[in-house]
Amino acid sequence: MTCSANPRPAESQTAVRIAGNRRVGAGVHLLRFRAPAIARAAQPGQFLHLLAPGMALLRRPFSIHDIDGDGIAILYRIAGQGTALLSRLRQGEPLDVVGPLGRPFAIENGRPHHIVVAGGIGIAPLQLLLRRLRAAKLSPLLCYGCATKTELRPHLRVKRIVATDDGSCGAKGFVTAALEAALDRYPGAQLYGCGPWPMLKALAAIAARRRLPCQVSLESFMACGVGACQGCVVKAVDGYRTVCHDGPVFESAAIDWDQEPVV
């Protein structure tokens, strides 16, 4: 253990102060704080396990949305008590941060195309991925689906295809349909995805059909966040895998897509 080389960045527990926390959409907030060690080490797809004062007991996992110098940004949707509480915290209030945790996206430089597929709040971990793909001159394409126009987040300037449930922006319907229509133009693309289970399931089916490599970021209830409790597993084709340690990023072919987790 301590003696084995670990390719992942070392995680730590850090006390930080909130630098900013504002609403950026319907029920969606952006939290910012300084955490130099995490900002230096973190890779796209990794997450932080947060404890805010007033949270009942367990931490809450959030992807690293973006990194700017020493600053970390978390994009979150109010989903329950913990996130509601988080959204009420103000600048200067303390946060306890554990991370960076989990298996990051692997940027496959050898691939001719890189397509990033986001569904709703699933954009959260993908902003940093897009940034790193762009920095590596891999000119990613973003396929972004959400309910309606106003949910779209401002983000990096990258090529994009948009789909909304109500057609208020881009194609009307599922982002995976829009992706499918575009894929012929991107042979051999590496796919990356994050979003609701049905979207990821459809994405995995497309990847399988077209024999494209695809990495997806999954969610689960968590307790420890470090692989110690076996609490956060998803069903993979060869057994259970922890989302916190074996994931959150998995090869889509490794997942048993018939076992939708309840989250």
């Binding site: 253990m1 007991l57 420890c224």
Partner: protein, 311 residues
Amino acid sequence: MNRNTPVKPVDLAVRVCGLRLKNPVIAASGTYGYGAEYRRLAPPADFGAIITKTVTLAPRAGNPPPRVFETASGMINAIGLANVGVEAFLRDKLPGLRRCGALVIANIAGNTADEYARLARRLDGAPGIAAIEVNISCPNVRHGGVAFGTDPRVAASLTRKVKKAAKLPVIVKLSPNVSDIAAIARAVEDAGADALSLINTLYGMAIDSRRRRPVLGNVTGGLSGPAIKPVALYCVHQVCQAVKLPVIGIGGIRSAEDAAEFMLAGACAVQVGTATFADPGAARAIARGLAAYCREHGFGKASDITGALHK
């Protein structure tokens, strides 16, 4: 405090059935994996001892998800004893833990008393294991699935078999889901156990009223965390009055005051589980806080807290 009085160092070490723990804070089974997972956030060296995840003879995949869920000041889990099995444990997990210099206690469970005995025998020879903790909260397949820990006679005969199979100290971990935990404790003491640890989780369940479904894949689970502390303290207090064996207190401990409460009730050490999830630094803070508690109360050593409840 007078600046000229040197602060007398507090001796945090405690002895539990022949083992010397450098402090009374032990990682609870199932909440600390096999040690490697928390090596950076909560290093094994912070703990007086590490109790590894329950191992069984064969590897176990565990229950379908969801496996954990937060409740009011607590959580329920239904991991289903997912573990790598005793052979992979000895081969892949134990060596790393040994290198950290941690005092390792291995926790075991079986479907039959024979399985427990075989596990004990297998671990007994293995270097780097200081003691065996016997998880008796598991269903006994030979007796209609009723947990070994529910019936004093069954618990006693299981204890005897494990004791016969191993020379290592045997700690029996009691379930709180019984009518009379003191009766189980006495039976296990008479059967030759070297120490007791308590409590394991309380039976619990959560329902998602929106989806009208049980939350856990396994439907029911075990409740842990601060919510159960009063029940755990009650059990430790009852058991300490009933037996002479050393008792290790478990259940909802997250601060030095919590730990002190269990020791005042008679525990010689404590285990910390759920609190580590919330705060990986909990164990270290508890050990430090116990030193401060000793100083405030004029105890020269942590073991002086044990049983020091005014009547």
